[in-house]
């Protein structure tokens, strides 16, 4: 592949104004699918199901099968629409989007087209510096997910060069809400940052609503980022590209930045942008062209004749509105006060996209400061090294349990980091790892005293020095004891015991 020219980011922004747009697919965590009573793999109860074991006739398009709408999915979609500040359509309906693909059991996707359930909203996002930006929402509509294709026989497991593919319909029919923004103007230099903050906000909203697990790494939240550039002063929008497959907040940020630089280089060289979908490559931090928009995009939408209009009662809408959780920005202000963090400490959490994790860890019993340290410290370090998100490593409840062991004196900070390593490796709960690895602090004074005796025997003058007021001499003994106990001793307790001995 030819080397792609990129323009310096700041220079690109001098010449061009970026216009953004996002389509986010949210997988709902209902118990069953959008149009069938099959278990929903995006619900905790059905994680890890074997291929094709969460399938009802309509999910694989069996002859004679019919869809029936999941009432809970509709309520979730209304709640999400309301949380996005949208109007809820007095009447909305489903439509068929017709295209052939092996992961699509019916070879049409049931979606919403001209009458989405929610439209015309806006959502406030908060940038790292605390600035608030308003993102205009065009619509949020209900639809179903497709199945999963695994490409076999190729070198990389990718579609190119694969000999054959395997199809699993477990994911087919998982309820989705697709959130579509209007064009976002005025992002300027902060375009990548806005992209990231917007995804984070949507994630926070759906989590607060409890309608999705919202784990990007699991595909619960999938973002397509649209980017176009127009020369400064030009009214007409430039041609946009739609970058798919950007499945972490960091990637969205990088992808938007990359597309701005790539498009700017093409335009500055007198070229034109092709309207196309592009693929994001996490490894190289680049995008590559997919399929150009073409005849194949004639989806032949028409109203789904097997389903009826959704006409939510005004009382239902008001009931769901009343039950909405607070907006993320307000929520953040409240947490900051409750946790007593400094501005810097709080920004650290927010910028790391770790608010929900810290909150869940605190909810599970950890002190806010300790929860923050784990997530912004060790977990972020490990995640960065592994190229993933901290949230993908461990569950907040497990972090809280780990901290409990530290608070109880069972673990030192250093030991706790070793336990965390075991947790990330999937060795079990913190307690199980402590037991299995034999990592607990030795709290038996008898064992400590024996080790102290041994150390004093090797350094007989230490007690004398302490009695002479040279308390720091205890350090040599403490060091020797810690070494003998392979770190599994509480240094403070050892110190106490040594001082006791000296004053005896």
């Amino acid at each position: 592949m030819a080397k792609v020219a990129l323009m310096d980011y700041d220079k690109a922004l001098e010449i061009y104004e970026p216009v953004l747009g996002f389509e986010i697919h949210v997988e709902l965590n209902t118990g069953t699918k959008m149009f069938s009573a099959a278990g929903n793999p995006a619900n905790e109860a059905h994680h890890g199901a074997e291929p094709n074991t969460l399938v009802a006739p309509v999910d694989m398009g069996l002859p004679g099968s019919l869809p029936v709408v999941n009432e809970t999915a509709v309520r979730y979609a209304i709640s999400l629409g309301l949380a996005l500040g949208c109007q809820i359509a007095p009447s909305s309906r489903f439509a068929r989007k017709n295209y052939f693909y092996p992961d699509l059991g019916k070879n049409y996707q049931i979606s919403q087209y001209d009458e989405p359930i929610a439209f015309e909203g806006e959502v406030e996002i908060e940038l790292d510096g605390g600035d608030i930006v308003t993102i205009p929402i065009e619509r949020a509509h209900m639809e179903e997910d497709a199945g999963k294709l695994t490409h076999m026989g190729g070198a990389t497991g990718r579609i190119q060069g694969a000999e054959y593919s395997l199809v699993d319909y477990n994911r087919a029919g998982v309820p989705l809400v697709e959130i579509v923004t209007k064009p976002i103007f005025g992002a300027e230099k902060r375009a990548p940052e806005i992209a990231k903050a917007y995804i984070a906000t949507i994630r926070d909203i759906v989590r607060a609503l409890g309608i999705s697990e919202a784990r990007m790494e699991r595909g619960n939240l999938r973002c397509d980022a649209n980017v176009s550039l127009r020369p400064r002063g030009q009214e007409k929008l430039g041609t946009r590209t739609e970058t798919k497959n950007v499945n972490s907040m960091r990637s969205v940020e990088r992808a938007v930045r990359y597309e701005i630089q790539r498009q700017a280089a093409i335009l500055a060289a007198g070229g034109t942008i092709t309207q196309e979908t592009r693929h994001w490559h996490e490894d190289t931090g680049t995008t590559s062209p997919g399929r150009p928009k073409s005849d194949a995009d004639d989806y032949r939408y028409f109203p789904e004749p097997d389903l009826l209009p959704v006409v939510p009662a005004p009382e239902l809408i008001e009931q769901l509105r009343a039950a909405l959780p607070e907006a993320p920005a307000a929520h953040r202000r409240r947490l900051k006060t409750a946790w007593g963090f400094t501005d810097l400490e709080f920004q650290d959490v927010v910028n790391g996209g770790l608010l929900a994790e810290v909150e869940a860890t605190v909810a599970a019993g950890a002190a806010p400061a300790a929860a923050r340290k784990w997530w912004t410290g060790e977990l972020t370090r490990v995640a960065n090294a592994a190229g993933t998100e901290p949230a993908a490593l461990v569950e907040p409840a497990a972090v809280a349990e780990l901290q409990k062991l530290v608070d109880a004196g069972t673990l030192t900070d250093k030991l706790a980091r070793q336990v965390l390593e075991g947790m990330i490796a999937g060795e079990g709960t913190p307690q199980q790892i402590v037991d299995a690895r034999g990592l607990a602090v030795v709290s038996d004074d008898g064992a400590l005293i024996a080790a102290i005796d041994e150390a004093l025997a090797a350094q007989p003058d230490v007690l004398e020095k302490i009695r002479d007021g040279k308390v720091q001499a205890a350090g040599a003994v403490i060091g020797a004891v810690m070494k003998a106990m392979r770190g599994q001793a509480d240094a403070a307790r050892v110190r106490e015991l040594v001082l006791e001995r000296a004053s005896a």
Partner: protein, 505 residues
């Protein structure tokens, strides 16, 4: 001993209940009849190899004193559009050859639960696209009245099976007349219920907003008995009505004995062109109206100015919905797969659909794809849906004046096999009288009105009623049936030539 195959389902059910005959005997009699005549008629695509076991089980349960339903033990033929777990379901298409469904259609499940004994699956135009059964991938069914003629379609197999005494009851499906038009050309009874009155779950979809499953029988009472079994709300079909339906068998009995026709206002459509109708069909229709008038019915001319747009709207809506419904036949999960050495999955899909679909199916898929494609939606599908509104308004206006509307069930008697196969447009015009009911969702019934003078072939009269008023059709149909059968001195089918007597297989 009585020939059990000549009994109506109602009579057979009575004898079964009284213990005079067993279900095994009744089932065996029909299997024997199938063996004797179906080589000529070809109503069945598949005959069950375990019908006798099912019948024996019913007999056992009855002997054990179990309370069984009114039609328990009566044999039933099932249109191949309905999926069944124990017999292949092909919808008359090569693309589904040998397909075994992991679940039963709701109407089949309800039939089994009622103790009906499925005999086999009946032939049909491929995916129910046709009016002659000539578009079946497995060869045409022959009309028992004249084996050189069509049995109607798409449900020619079910109608022929019933007309040839191979089964007393059959299930059909009606998207634009596929139950009523075969009834017309075979001298049998067929009902398209109100849209949503019978579940579509497990009926291989042709056009979702038009399809409806219904009974195919020899008498109106038998149809009511079967309708009572299969009808009612089904949570698996979102368009199924949660309506409290009366007993249609009771309605038929009431019609047969009462004076339903007295004071009944029967609408005839002013705009229905006389020209397209065969003389004998028109004559039979007028004679039936006269018979009703003689019983005190009042014939009222009504106007339905938009019915003439029905065929056009139908041939936009049906192909559009069908093009989408039939997309699932793609070689990935079930059905035919054509190997394309070195081909991509797209190549395999396209080759499979080329090989697996017949000409009529391809024609309608391409037509429907065109009607939905960018730039045409409003002009075609959108406009066709507006015609539905106009036709519904015509019905509303008419039913403000009359109790039922009457039409000939189809323009001609059974035409010869092959006569219209190369002229799709002529074939489409067969459905001119039946289509409005599907577009508007109202119920319709076809019962025999007599034989056409010029060819001695059966003619049917169709009655239409407002939505949900299916029971009215049973009352009126049974009343006219009683009058006509009385005037004929016996059922019309008694005059059909006997089959299988001379050297049938």
């Amino acid at each position: 001993m009585t020939d059990l195959t000549r009994l109506t389902a109602a009579d057979l059910a009575d004898r079964l209940a009284a213990g005079e005959v067993s279900s095994v005997e009744a089932t065996q009699a029909h299997l024997d009849r199938i063996a004797a005549v179906d080589g000529d008629v070809r109503a069945f695509l598949h005959v069950s190899d375990h019908a006798l076991q099912v019948a024996a089980d019913i007999d056992r349960r009855r002997a054990a004193g179990e309370q069984l339903g009114p039609v328990a033990g009566v044999p039933l033929a099932v249109k191949d559009v309905l999926v069944t777990t124990d017999m292949p379901s092909t919808s008359g298409s090569r693309i589904l050859e040998g397909y075994l469904s992991p679940y039963d259609a709701t109407v089949v499940a309800r039939s089994r639960a009622a103790g009906l004994v499925p005999l086999g699956k009946t032939n049909m135009d491929e995916f129910a696209m046709g009016s002659s059964t000539e578009h079946s991938a497995y060869g045409p069914t022959h009309n028992p009245w004249d084996l050189d003629r069509i049995p109607g379609g798409s449900g020619g197999g079910s109608a022929a099976a019933v007309a040839a005494f191979e089964a007393p009851l059959a299930l059909g499906s009606d998207t634009g007349g596929s139950i009523r038009q075969p009834a017309h050309v075979t001298g049998t009874v067929g009902i398209k219920p109100t849209y949503g009155g019978v579940s579509r779950f497990g009926a291989i979809a042709l056009a979702s907003s038009l399809d409806q499953v219904g009974p195919v029988t020899r008498t109106v009472l038998d149809a009511g008995l079967l309708h009572d079994v299969i009808g009612g709300h089904d949570p698996h079909d979102s368009t199924s009505l949660a309506h409290a339906w009366p007993s249609f068998a009771d309605a038929a009995r009431e019609g047969a004995r009462g004076d339903v026709l007295k004071g009944l206002k029967v609408g005839v459509i002013a705009e229905l062109p006389d020209s397209g109708f065969q003389a004998g069909v028109s004559a039979s229709f007028r004679a039936a109206l006269s018979a009703m008038e003689a019983q005190g019915a009042e014939i009222v001319e009504i106007s339905a100015p938009h019915f003439e747009y029905g065929v056009a709207a139908y041939y936009l809506i049906l192909p559009a919905e069908a093009s989408s419904n039939l997309a699932k036949f793609d070689s990935v999960r079930f059905g035919l797969r054509v190997d394309v050495p070195g081909g991509t999955v797209e190549d395999v899909m396209a080759a499979t659909r080329d090989a697996g679909f017949g000409d009529e199916v391809k024609r309608r898929i391409i037509l429907g794809t065109y009607a939905l494609s960018a730039g045409y939606y409003d002009a075609y599908y959108g406009s066709a849906q507006k015609v539905r509104t106009l036709i519904q308004r015509d019905f509303d206006a008419a039913f403000a004046q009359v109790d039922v509307i009457a039409t000939p069930s189809a323009p001609t008697t059974a035409f010869r096999l092959g006569e219209k196969i190369d002229d799709p447009l002529q074939m489409y015009l067969n459905d001119v009288t039946t289509i409005p009911a599907n577009l508007a969702g109202v119920p319709g019934i076809s019962i025999p009105s007599g034989l056409a003078e010029e060819d001695g072939l059966p003619v049917g009269i169709q009655f239409l009623a407002p939505a949900m008023q299916d029971a009215r059709l049973y009352r009126v149909g049974a009343a006219l049936e009683a009058v006509l059968v009385d005037s004929w001195g016996g059922p019309l089918l008694d005059r059909a030539p006997s089959l299988g007597a001379g050297g049938a297989r």
